[in-house]
C-alpha cells in the first residue's frame, strides 16, 4: 500500500511537470503563431482570398494556386519573408495579376482559402491601388496617365480627373482610384514609370477609412463624385473648370 502512495505522489509530480512543460510550450507556440499571423496585412493575396484570419486558417500551403497561374505571378512565402510562412502572395511591381476571366488560381485551391464564391474576376479585391500624389507624374502637371490606360477596369477603377491649378492657366489631368471598382491587380503599379512606383497596391485595410453609418451626405455637386452609382462611366467634373480649360485649349493664349 505504501508503495502505491509513493507512486501516487510521484505521479502527481510527473503530471505537474508535464502540465507545466506543455502549457509553457503551448504558450510560446501560440505566441509565435500570432506574431507570424500579424505579418499578414502586408500581403497582396490571390483573387478570392478570404479575410486575413480566415485566410490564414484555411490555407494549407500547397501552392496549387501558384502552379495554376499562367503568368507566374503567385509565389509561396518562404521562411524569413514578412508574410505568413508558406502562403501565396504576389508582388505587383514584379508581376501583376492579369485577371484571367476563368480565375484558374481560385479554382485550383482545394481548401476554399481562395473562396469559390468569386465567379467574376472584376469582383476580386486583392488590394487597393493608392496614389502617392507627391511623386505621381500626372500630379506634377505632366501628361502621364499610364496607370489609367493600363487599368483593366479602365474608367471605373481609375479615372482621369481634371484639376485646376491656382498659379497657372494649365489644368492638370490626374488619375483617381475608386475603391468600388479597383480589383488590386497591380497592373497600374507594374506600369508606373517612376523609379519607385507612385501608384501601389496595398491591402485595403491598411489605407481605407470608414465614414460611419450616421453620416448623411448632402447631394452637393462637389460630393457627387463619391456618391455616383458604381456603373456610371464618366466621372463627374466641376463644370466651370472644365469649360474654362476647354476654352483655353481651343482658343489658345491669344484670348
Amino acid at each position: 500500500m505504501s508503495k502505491a502512495k509513493v507512486s501516487r505522489r510521484a505521479l502527481v509530480g510527473k503530471v505537474a511537470q508535464g502540465t507545466t512543460l506543455a502549457v509553457t510550450g503551448g504558450s510560446i507556440w501560440s505566441y509565435l503563431l500570432s506574431q507570424q499571423a500579424r505579418a499578414a496585412p502586408r500581403a497582396v493575396r490571390p483573387p478570392g482570398a478570404r479575410q486575413d484570419d480566415d485566410f490564414n486558417a484555411h490555407c494549407i500551403k500547397c501552392g496549387q494556386c501558384v502552379q495554376a497561374c499562367p503568368y507566374d505571378t503567385l509565389r509561396l512565402a518562404a521562411v524569413g519573408e514578412a508574410i505568413p510562412i508558406g502562403t501565396p502572395y504576389f508582388i505587383p511591381r514584379q508581376i501583376p495579376c492579369y485577371m484571367c476571366p476563368d480565375i484558374p488560381c481560385r479554382k485550383a485551391c482545394p481548401t476554399g482559402a481562395l473562396d469559390s464564391v468569386l465567379e467574376d474576376i472584376n469582383e476580386a479585391r486583392m488590394g487597393l491601388a493608392v496614389i502617392d500624389v507627391e511623386h505621381c507624374l500626372s500630379w506634377q502637371g505632366l501628361r502621364c496617365e499610364i496607370c489609367h490606360r493600363e487599368c483593366p477596369v479602365q474608367d471605373q477603377a481609375i479615372t482621369v480627373e481634371l484639376l485646376p491649378r491656382r498659379v497657372s492657366k494649365h489644368a492638370m489631368f490626374v488619375p483617381m482610384v475608386h475603391s468600388a471598382h479597383c480589383t488590386g491587380c497591380g497592373i497600374c503599379e507594374n506600369a508606373c514609370p517612376t523609379e519607385e512606383a507612385a501608384i501601389r497596391v496595398v491591402p485595403p485595410g491598411l489605407v481605407q477609412g470608414k465614414l460611419g453609418a450616421h453620416y448623411r451626405l448632402q447631394q452637393r455637386p462637389d460630393t457627387l463624385r463619391d456618391q455616383k452609382s458604381p456603373d456610371s462611366q464618366t466621372p463627374m467634373r466641376s463644370n466651370t473648370v472644365e469649360t474654362s480649360a476647354l476654352e483655353y485649349l481651343n482658343e489658345g493664349e491669344s484670348r
Partner: protein, 314 residues
Amino acid sequence: MTHGSRQPETGAGGGPVRKFVMPNTLAGKLWVWRYIILRRVSQIALLLLFFGTAHWGWKVADRPLLAGNLSSSELLGVIPMADPFAVLQILVTQSILEPRVLIGALLILAVYAIVGGRSFCAWVCPVNMVTDLAGWLRTRLGISGAFYLSRNTRYTVLALALAVSVIAGVAAFEWISPVGVMHRELIYGIGLGWAAVLGVFLLDLFILKHGWCGHLCPLGAFYALVGARTAQLRIHFDEATCTHCGECARICPEPQVLNLKQAAQVGMVASGECTNCGRCTPMCPEHSLSFDWRVAITKHKRHSHAGTSKRRAA
C-alpha cells in the same frame, strides 16, 4: 571480426548466436542495402514528380502530373490528396473546408491505414533523408546522448499541436513544421527554411539520437496512430529461428517496436511506431524478419498455434 576470439553465445534455441556479416561483394552489399536504396528512390522520385510538375510543366494526357505538395496535391488533375494531419488541424480551427481537400485527406488516410501510417516517415518524408544522415554520422562519430527524452513526447506534441490550433486559430504544426518547410522550399524556392532543416540535423547529430523523427515529430506520432491495428504491410517475426542476437534492435531507428516477446505472440512487429523502413530484415543473420501481409501472418499464426495446442493435448 572483433569478437572472433569470444566464445560463441548460445541462443534461445540452444544453437550458437551468429552475428551479421557484411558481404564482401558489391552485389551482396547492394542486396543488404536494398530497402534503403528503394526508400531513397521513393523519396527522391516523389520530390521530383512535384518539382517537375511545378517547374517543367510535366503532364500526362495534357493534365498536370502531380500538382501541389505533400500538404495537398492533385494527381493528373483528378485525384485529390491531402495531408490528413494538416486537414485535422485546420478543422479544429472551426474552418469549413471544401470537399476536395476532405476527400483527399480521407484517401491518404485510407492508404496509410493499409500500408501502415509511418510508412510515410520512411518512404515519403523528405526530412527522413536528413535525419538518416544525421543518425549514420552520429554512429560513425560515436556521439553519445546529451539527455534522455521519452519517445512518447511526440504524442504530447501532437496533442499540443491540436490544442494550439484551437487557441491560435491556425494550423499550429503546419506553421512551424520542418517537414513542410523543407518540402515546400525545395519545390517553390528556397528561403531561410534550410535553417529549420539544419536545426533538425544538428538535434539528431549532437543532442538526441533519432531526436526529431523518433521523439518529437507530431506528424510521425499522428501516423503512428493511423493503421496501428489495421496496417496490412508489417514485419513478420519468425520466433523459431530467432537467436536474440540483437542486430535488428541495433539498426532500428525505433528499437522499442522490436519487443520480441510481443512479436512472438502475434508473429509480427505490431507497433504503429514501426516505420516499415525494412532496415532490420537484411541485418538479421537468421532471416527471422521479413515483410509480409498481416492477413497471411495471422492466418499462419493461427495454424501453428492450433498445431502446438494439439501437440500439447496429445
